[in-house]
Symmetry: C2
Subunit: 359 residues, 2 copies
């Protein structure tokens, strides 16, 4: 290919005020779909490309999962209230979560990191120690790194490689009508933790308090600042010999994430509001903020719990597990996607989740 | 682990003017070494972690290579003179280069991308089309993506997965005394391309020219803006049944990169100045800037040529290849690392390459 410098024009970003199609209008999911629609695959080792929590590769007889995330300062985290060690821990764990969401086991991660001048060596050491702690706890190997400077902000890109037994990988697309919709743990906590941190930050910066009041909120703060991935649930599936029909981790909120499953499984859903598991601290904080805790669960995101569907035949395997809650069931696509209130009203679900217009 | 919010302190970055150990003093390589020294490995599928161009994993009977890079605006590229399509192409290719540098074949990439509001959809489309073009040309599958907003700047993290035949992986550490030091292609071009672009940018921004004068410099501009990785050289090794004893791709400049080989191989080197292959356009531009073209080759970086060592017994296999130049040989460690001038003077090499103090 001939490079033709004479045909290039210098681009002056500030002057680029045209009215072309806007990224914000597409939202994150529309944007990725739009940008990746022309991708071709060339290698037989690629079993599944873009579109699930992780891509699936096949090397020898093993199925390998791979997923990448980028966390960027000011969008995904705020260094004012994120201790660097927690940030490293969270950055690793949310990547592990993508592999568990495929019913796999994370094995290796690589890190590409860019930091600005304000980050001191001791802060980087804290960050790395958080990653190492997560790796130790989850048995994952930290195998590669690229560290450089950035003009502004801290940018953390982690790629995770995982492994899954043949036939055990769980995609977003396998849910069938009448399958039970289940979640691990409790929802909405990470969102309420964020609201608390944002409120205390404002007070702190305004000079009205010397130290933020965070006592008594350790559950929601930990869900936000130092979440865990549900390795235990994937191990439980192995123990009780259960393969979910579809699975995703809740990173964008229950609403967005059930939308992903329904879209890829070509189905609808009914979710019972009363069944949504919500921690008492989450409820209490939602009360303080005068918001419905269901909003935190449906729209909040970052819970990193597993949302999965199981065949009704497997009901007995999960019905008495305290760590799993059945919250609804899969319907035919034409029945739509609804929340059922305790008064038995049907409220249509909206995809929420991350949207560039709000960022 | 109990989360203890009461023990945390709000960190106010601007106030953090202490005199602790500075990142700049360590440099990139020292920094990565410092930060990764506590890493433990837990999985038998991890054969090699941090420290080479790629990590080596073993799944089934195959050896898999994995490497990640982050490119950040203002440090690694300037959108004023980097067309987005070229940038996508380069971001992919420099990652492929890390796999070729291990004597492997890149198979899959994932992309994590953060862009600020100034990036329009059409620019993102251009960027993706550049990645797709690189993938098509090199036969690599684009299997995963994460796209989000950033407050400022564009940040590109790519992870590449590659494959290598058992026993064919080439590390930095295998060079032996008397091995021949070889490079592919020609050196210093990317650096002189960058000097030209920076000069023209200054003139353009000062309003002294309407369009930059880039005609007649397509070789050095292409080396900088749209480099290629040496897939052909790795294929040649296969054809002529040659396994280099050590290999690295030249991303930081000949000097830095031979330092990596010497350090990990516990050896020294002699490199003959007269043998360094330099393109006539590189020489001409170095002349214009009144700098020694050897500086561009030794300190410039970003050439993405392969630097490798071969056993003297393999001399015949490479001696008549126009795409390969023998530039020196490996010595015992205590003999040091030297460039030999045409007047037969010895000049001690310095590790150069990227350094945070210059960024």
């Amino acid at each position: 290919m001939i490079f033709a410098p004479q045909s290039r024009k210098y681009v002056h970003m500030e002057d680029d005020k045209n009215t072309e199609k806007n990224i914000s209008n597409l939202g994150e999911f529309g944007l990725i779909e739009h940008l990746t629609k022309n991708i071709q695959l060339y290698n037989k080792s690629t079993k599944l490309g873009v579109g699930d929590d992780a891509a699936v590769l096949k090397y020898g007889s093993n199925e390998i999962l791979i997923s990448s995330d980028l966390l960027t300062e000011g969008i995904h985290f705020d260094l004012i209230y994120s201790p660097l060690k927690h940030l490293g821990y969270k950055a690793a764990v949310v990547n592990f979560s993508d592999i568990y969401a495929m019913n796999g086991i994370p094995r290796q991660i690589t890190l590409a990191l860019a930091v600005s001048q304000k980050i001191k060596l001791s802060m980087l050491e804290e960050f790395y120690s958080g990653i190492n702690l997560a790796c130790e706890k989850y048995g994952v190997d930290f195998v590669g790194g690229d560290t450089s400077t950035s003009l502004t902000g801290m940018h953390i890109a982690i790629t995770v490689v995982g492994e899954a037994k043949k036939g055990k990988i769980t995609f977003r697309k396998g849910a069938k009508t009448n399958d039970l919709i289940c979640v691990s743990g409790e929802l909405g906590g990470a969102y309420m933790g964020l609201q608390l941190l944002e409120r205390e930050k404002k007070l702190f910066l305004s000079g009205n308090v010397e130290q933020p009041i965070l006592e008594g909120h350790s559950y929601i703060l930990e869900k936000q600042l130092k979440p865990e991935a549900r390795k235990d649930i994937v191990q439980l599936f192995e123990t009780i010999d259960l393969v979910p029909t579809a699975m995703i981790d809740i990173s964008d909120g229950l609403s967005s994430d059930i939308f992903h499953i329904c879209k890829q499984s070509d189905s609808g859903c009914k979710i019972y509001a009363e069944k949504i598991p919500i921690h008492h601290e989450t409820k209490k904080m939602a009360d303080e903020f005068n918001i419905d805790p269901l909003i935190a669960a449906f729209n909040g995101g970052e819970d990193y719990e597993l949302l999965f569907t199981v065949s009704p035949n497997d009901f007995d395997k999960i019905s008495n597990r305290p760590e799993i809650t059945i919250i609804g069931y899969i319907t035919d696509k034409q029945e739509g996607k609804y929340m059922v209130t305790k008064e038995n009203q049907l409220i249509e679900l909206q995809a929420q989740g991350w949207d560039t217009t709000k960022a």
